[in-house]
Amino acid sequence: MNTGFRLLRALVSLWLIVTLVFVALRATGDPITAIFDPDNFTAEALEAYRRQWGYTGTVFDQYVVYITSLLRGDFGFSSMGNRGAAAVVIERIPATLQLVGCSAFLMMAIGFPVGAYAALHDGGRIDRFVMTFSTVGFAVPNFVMGLAFILLFSVNLRLLPSNGYGTWQHLVMPVLTIGISQSAIFTRFVRSAVLDARNLQCVTSATARGVAPWEVFWRHVVPNAMLPLVTITPLLVGAMVAASAVVESVFGWPGIGRLIVESVAQRDLAVLQMIVMMIAAVMITTNLVVDLAYAQLDPRTSRARAH
């Protein structure tokens, strides 16, 4: 598969998702009567809203309007914010990026050293402890961990604010929550990747040649372990998105995650569909980049295809 084909496939996926969102939203009946109780509004008022939000004409007309306005960058009107959905969504992006970026850093700061150490001392006491910790960490839902942090740091110790955004103190608990809960899974991935890499022939042969252990680790084990880890990046991005939806709600963090929950609760479909498309675009781009990067990082894949 060449780059052009991959790009085309990514675009088709994106178009499919956009269309699916449209079908799902319109298949469920009149979006206007879903938001406004027809008994409490006059027909003219409903008609006015319908025109304002682009819900007029046949379904196909609406689809054409929908696609053309999407291409123009118009994502509809947020009933909750009473302004363009794009503006509502875009102003939430920095907060989420800040949270997800710091959490990803913490996740890797825990996952890489701990996972690698466990794999190098495979079967030992530390390894068993790490695996147990990882199983336990997986079973703690992140909202439970978040509430436990609030109970500890805000209620009992009175060190950190339980809610809000702005200072570094506000960032501590949400980042700890997402970072620790994701590291439970990430550590396992790192451990098994390093274990697999350790069993490669090049490692055995380098050790047999008398190469120093640290050099074997950095020159042979680490590069080989990175390959499987690159392929799970999309999975991690998805997990981060899911985690931020819950954790942002726990800590009142004004990001995309909390906006999803708000838009679902308020049935603000314009905002919701824009977020869904944005997440889909991020996931598709991540997959594309990983696909392309993998071919670059591992020459075997492209050579195998040439046969």
């Binding site: 199983t135 839902p141 909202f143 509430l147 609030i150 109970l151 929950v261 479909l269």
Partner: protein, 285 residues
């Protein structure tokens, strides 16, 4: 055959159950037994209100045995609510896993049997499902179709279908090349009969392990959605929405949130310990 010999024979086939797994099985059994027998043994009910004992702490933190795990802001017994919530959460997770297991298996069989473009579509759908976080899909469906119990179970029942589809598809394709399937189809048995009576029993253990691994994830998904107020709605109660309400009382009654939080953690941990163990047993066979 004497008891002793059958004992050793059994031990040879079933590996010894580790202590941690025993604890996990014990905890799940305790949960199931309590949800069945608690309403018979105790007169505490989910909605009865004891106004003189509002926000009573649990035993050991200054509380009394009349409300072992304390009461909430309305004076409702936390233990009684915990039992009802655990029942709801476990039943919903069980239903959801059963739905997704059946659905995924059927789609996988269909893809393997028909092949061609149907198979291609199924593979593409599986890939698409894997790449989108499921919580986003379930939130979108909730927003579109509104919030009802049936819909909620159906939405959760979509979780993880692609895992079963992938497994069943691959294993059925492999089985179609095996002698026993060839023999049966040559003998003129119908394909549904071959699949249901001969192919599925052969892959059932793998499917069961996949279900055990999905189960804690469904519990976490259900509790997350209910916690956000987008899952189980009052007057019904689930572990997630109990925790969601308890969250407002962290200052005055930490136990209202801590009790269901601990229950979610223990249930999810117990099932995933059992699942990990089952997977390693299957892997050894």
């Amino acid at each position: 055959m004497s008891d002793a010999t059958s004992g050793t024979a059994r031990r040879r086939f079933l590996p010894a159950i580790p202590f941690g797994v025993m604890l996990a099985i014990g905890w799940i059994a305790l949960c199931l037994l309590t949800t069945i027998f608690f309403p018979i043994l105790s007169d505490l009910s989910v909605s009865s209100i004891d106004l003189t004992a509002r926000l009573a702490p649990p035993v050991g933190f200054g509380g009394y045995w009349s409300h072992p795990l304390g009461t909430d802001d309305l004076g409702r017994d936390v233990l009684a609510r915990l039992v009802a919530s655990t029942r709801t959460s476990l039943l919903i997770a069980l239903g959801a896993v059963a739905i997704s297991g059946t659905l995924g298996t059927l789609i996988g069989l269909l893809a393997a049997h028909v092949g061609g473009w149907v198979d291609q579509v199924v593979v593409a759908a599986v890939d698409a499902q894997v790449s989108v976080p499921f919580i986003i899909i379930s939130l979108t469906l909730t927003a579109i179709f509104g919030n009802s119990l049936i819909l909620f179970v159906v939405v959760l029942g979509l979780f993880g279908w692609e895992r079963y589809t992938r497994l069943v598809r691959a294993m059925t394709m492999a089985a179609r090349g095996r002698g026993y399937v060839l023999a049966m189809s040559t003998l003129g048995f119908s394909w549904p009969r071959i699949y249901l009576r001969h192919v599925l029993p052969n892959i059932a253990s793998t499917l069961l392990v996949t279900m055990t691994i999905s189960f804690p994830e469904v519990i976490l998904l259900e509790t997350s959605l209910s916690f956000l107020g987008l899952g189980i709605q009052p007057p019904m109660t689930s572990l997630g929405n109990m925790l969601g309400f308890g969250r407002s009382y962290l200052l005055t009654g930490w136990w209202i949130a801590a009790v269901p939080g601990a229950a979610i953690f223990l249930c999810a941990l117990a099932v995933s310990v059992i699942g990990d163990w089952a997977r390693s047993v299957i892997g050894r066979l």
